[in-house]
Each structure stands twice: as C-alpha cells, then as structure tokens.
Subunit: 351 residues, 2 copies
C-alpha cells in the first residue's frame, strides 16, 4: 500500500519516536532550542543525525505561515550592476536558513508589480526591490506587506521601510566637478536606458555645470546600455558639439564605447579628451589608459540588505524607517588628466 514509504524521508514523528519525546519537542529543538533541556536536546539531535532528518520546509511554511525566503526583485540580470547585487545577497544568505529568490522585471514597473504580488503570496521573510519607482499598487502592497522590505541602489527615495544605496545626484555632481577641476570645461553627458537613477546622475551633472556657469550638452537613448551605443552617443554628441572636451557617462558600458570611439578617431585620452564612467566595472581598470569612473558598491547593497532582513525578520516595522548610504568613490585614473594638487578627493563612506 504505502509503496512509497520506504523511499520517503524521516519526519519529525520518526525522530520523536526514536528519541522518546513528542514531535513538538523535536520541532522546538530546531526553532527554539532554549526551551528544551540540554539533555533532551542532545538526545534528539543525535537521532536527527543518525536518521539524517531534515525539516520539510513546505510543512513548516504551511503550519507557521512563514518561510525563509528572501525575494530579490531586480530590473535586469544582464546588467553587471545587478549581478553584483545578486552575488552579495547569495553570499550573505549562504549557510543560513534563508533562501534567495530572484525576480527579473526587465525595467517594467508593471512586471515588478506582478512579481511583488506573486512573491508576497509566499509569505517571504523579506523583500528587496530596486529603487523607488514602484507603481502605486506595488508600493501599497509593499507598505502593507507582512515582512520587512528594503529598497536598494538609491538612498534618496521616500523609503517604504528601509533603503540602502547611494545618492546618485550627488555622485553625478561630484564626478562632473572632478572633471571641471581637471581642466575640462565643455563637458557632455552620455546616457542609455535612463532609468530613475540615471536621471538623477544627469541632474547632478546639470547642477554641477550650472554652478560652474558652463552649458550642458547631453546625448541619451532609451535603449539598453552597450559599448556600441556608447560609441554612437559620443558620435552624436560630437556632431552637435564638436568642441566637447570630456564626457561623464551614465555607466561604464557607455564609457567603454566612448573610449573606443575616441581611439578610432585618434582623440588622445586624457589630454585631448576626458572620460569618466560610472560603476567601476573590473575589466575597465585594465585598459590602457585605465578608465576613470565612479565606484559603487553593489555587492554590499546585496549583502547588507539580506543582512538587515535576516536581523529584522519577525520584527515589527517601526513607524520611522531607515536609510543606509553606502556612498561612492570617484576613481580618477588614466582617462582624465591629473588634478591640480589642491583639489581634495571627495569620498563618501564607500570602502
């Protein structure tokens, strides 16, 4: 009859029988060890080892209405930026009772909303989303959610609960001010995709130029970032503003494209032209000359957000919620001229 019984895994009941206690006591050895006497616990754990018992998470989830799942909802898995986040999140979750579940909404707020719905059904232990541009409905769901939620990437959002990221507008302004300080004065902006955080960097660029009394020159595209697009954007910009002497780009892929386009045109970096990217992808530090860029710590965003979620799981959401600013760091390398000695490097809390 029970033709499956022999293949099936040991259950709480089996362990309970073998160790002469009740099932609930075995359960407590896992969830609340402090409520079980040391000797009973030792006896039980021995049987657990002998039988190779492993808790059934489906049963646990059903009975307790909680899971160890942490949902990580990202705009993309192609973009290296988010891959770093994923790595940080996985590394932090590894070895804990928590599991990461990834969602990829491909920059669509509507898809994001759908995924929030789906994820929330599972009673996750926590939820991580990128940025603050959720649909109204999604934000609503997130605000009522029965778990903690952290928004990553951007520290300048109206937080739903927790926010961990950096100030993109200030980072953009800092980068441009760095270019100005290095003697570039007709600075362009190159950007692709132009999501909310890119817009903030563009705003930072504008702020810095405005303060310096310089005029702006912008070339953007809604297409996904790529080196190829970066080359096109630079060409476009130079066609419209031939006297441009430097660019701040939306990200390092665009920067690479601009870099290669400069090579093709025989524009010498950093003397004839300056480039500052954004994100600090590993590969581009190896170029000759190495790319100047703004370093952001995506790995830490993933790591920290899972860390907070684990610490705060089963915790009530406070009325006042928090923001963690991970900062950024301008990395002035070979695609920009050296700064005069007096210019201080501006450096936030980034490591």
């Amino acid at each position: 009859m029970n033709k499956r019984k022999d293949t099936s895994l040991p259950t709480l009941k089996d362990v309970a029988r073998e160790s002469g206690v009740s099932a609930i006591t075995v359960s407590r050895c896992f969830r609340h060890p402090e409520l079980v006497s040391a000797e009973v616990r030792a006896r039980v754990m021995q049987v657990v080892d002998r039988l190779g018992y492993v808790p059934n998470s489906a049963a646990s989830a059903l009975a307790s209405r909680r899971t160890g799942v942490i949902c990580l909802l990202l705009p993309s898995l192609s973009n290296n930026v988010y891959v770093d986040v994923v790595n940080g999140a996985y590394d932090r979750a590894y070895g804990t009772a928590h599991t990461i579940q990834i969602g990829n909404h491909k920059y669509s707020p509507l898809e994001e909303e759908k995924l929030v719905r789906v994820f929330l059904q599972q009673n996750p232990a926590g939820l991580i989303v990128a940025g603050g541009e959720q649909t109204g409905a999604a934000r609503d769901l997130l605000e009522r959610a029965d778990c903690r939620v952290v928004q990553i990437m951007d520290s300048q959002v109206r937080p739903i609960d927790l926010a961990i990221g950096l100030d993109h507008e200030r980072a953009g302004a800092d980068a441009v001010e760095g270019l100005l300080a290095r003697g570039y004065c007709r600075i362009g902006f190159l950007g692709a995709r132009m999501d909310a955080r890119s817009q903030k960097r563009l705003q930072g660029y504008r702020n810095a130029l405005f303060r310096a009394g310089a005029d702006e020159r912008v070339s953007t595209s809604p297409s996904p970032s790529s080196a190829r697009l970066g080359a096109l954007l630079l060409s476009d910009l130079l066609a419209r503003h031939p006297d441009t002497d430097a660019v701040f780009t939306n990200n390092d892929d665009i920067a690479l494209g601009a870099y290669l386009e400069c090579q093709r045109r025989g524009m010498r970096l950093p003397d004839a032209f300056g480039i500052c990217g954004f994100n600090d992808l590993d590969l581009l530090e190896e170029l000759n000359p190495p790319l100047s860029t703004v370093r952001t710590d995506r790995y830490q965003m993933g790591w920290q957000s899972v860390d907070r979620l684990i610490a705060l799981a089963n915790t009530d959401r406070p009325t006042g919620s928090g923001t963690v600013d991970l900062g950024y760091a301008c990395m002035w390398r070979g695609t920009t001229r050296p700064a005069p000695a007096t210019v201080p490097e501006r450096r936030d809390r980034a490591g």
Copy 2:
C-alpha cells in the same frame, strides 16, 4: 479567536463555497481543467478572479509531494558565462508555474554535493547542474533523484539523465586549427581556473598542434580568470617562449588581458600576433580590432534545459538518456589575420 482570519488570503474552500462546488473541483480547475465541465470551470474561475485567489504553494507541495521548483546549480555567479545561463533559464520559466532556484557552489564539488542534498529535499520538479564532475555521492543522489536532471555546458559527459552543451575539446581543436590556417605556427595556450571544460579545450589545443606537428607552449593558473591575470599569463609565456606568434585562450577575460598586454608591448594585432578567445562576450567585439573568439550559446543552454525539464516533469527517466549538442562557432575577427580563401569556416549547429 481567529484574529488573523481577516488578513488571511482566500483559500480553495472559500472559492468552493462561493461557487457552490467542492474544494477538489476548484483544485482541478487549476491542475486538470480538462476533467471539469466548461460551465463549472467558468463559474469557478470567475469567483477565483473576484476573490483574487492564488494557490498556496506550500500546501500544494505538502499534499502532492511535488513543487514547481527547478534548481539551477552553478559554479559561479561572477563569471558572465553562467549569468547568461541564468538569464536563459529565467526567461524560459517566466510566466509558467515553474520557479528557478539558484545555487552557487563556487567551483567546489563538495559544496555542490551539499547543495544537491538541500535541493533534493524540496522535491524539485527538475535539477540542472554544470558539467560532469560531481562527487560520487552527488552523482549517486542525482541518479536516484525523483526528478529529471540535466547537465549543462558540456555535451561530452557520461550523462546522468540529460546533457545539453558543446564539445569543448573539439571547439579547442577547431580554434587552434583556425589559427594554424591563418598562418600562425607557434601558438600558445593561456588558461585560468582550469576546470574540467578548460582542460578539455586545452586537450583540443594539444590535439591540433600534435596533428600539425607543432610544439605546445602553455601557461595556466588555478586562479579565477581576469583580464589582469591574462596579461600576466601572456607575459609569462613570452618570457619562456619569446617567439610565440599567437595564443588561444581559455576564455575572453584572459584574451582581453593578453590583448591589452600586446598593446602595451606594441605588438600589433593581428599581424605581429594573433589572439583567439573563448565564449564571445559582447563587449569584446567592440574593441579595435575586435576580438576573434569562439562563440558559445550559454543563454540557450539555460533556456533549453528549463524547457526540457518542464516538458519532461513527471516523466519517468528512460534507461537511455540523451545528449543535446548546441555546438559553437569560431568568430574570426580582427585579432587574427584573414584566412586564405580555401579554408572553410567550421560551424556546428550554433545559430
């Protein structure tokens, strides 16, 4: 008493009551719609929509001993190669009842074994692992597993069940033969990490050189791949074999490093020196000159493996298991000299 009842989601029972049928009928509307009359089904689904009912996967998993989870067990999430696999897998699973769960064992067979254990506890619908170098215990678990399993990346493994990948040894040999055909004759091999598939490519390199009567010159490192390491490996090789006139590299990161080292040394590509990489990462096609490399279709490996798994879920494992060879394609670009007209491009089934 039921102080939670108001917050809680609608259940099968609620839908059943509202639509005047039994719970199991509602269940069947989801699992086996064909067993329910059209009118009843319509009525039920209407109530489902109205109530916003969503099946509880924990309860479903508990009752049926099955889940919609497909486990994807990878050696790394930093390496672009695996990120592409992840993307393919997610894209195929999107919108289905299946969910991807990623594991990252960081190239450790022991960690892989642990993760196989953990994953198998969840009664997954399917399991995807990379390559064929599992520990004995892991292979054992996989062979007895109550779900289909596919091994990706490498088509030349003794398959546990299904294998989807390419022939790395042949790809390596093809690449080197391509270099020979393009007039390079003192060809080196540069490799990092040197996992099983890298070893096979190295073997292919050796085969090709042996057939051509040329001598080998190899520089490898167990460290993870990076452009920086690629530059070091090339320097090492040139120190030992100054007359080397081309390299076939383990992957594109190493190739980029070699490429940049050539730039630094003023060795002109492709005339003075040839480089052929492996994998065809997007960025490197944009270089001046663009990198010659071997294209592999990691996205398809992810996509196809999930596709097969979905198709074969709840299917018994046949005694004879299958292999899908996705092929590869040599992309001869600017870092190698053009071939004499007579050399045919060798192209496998890759698109």
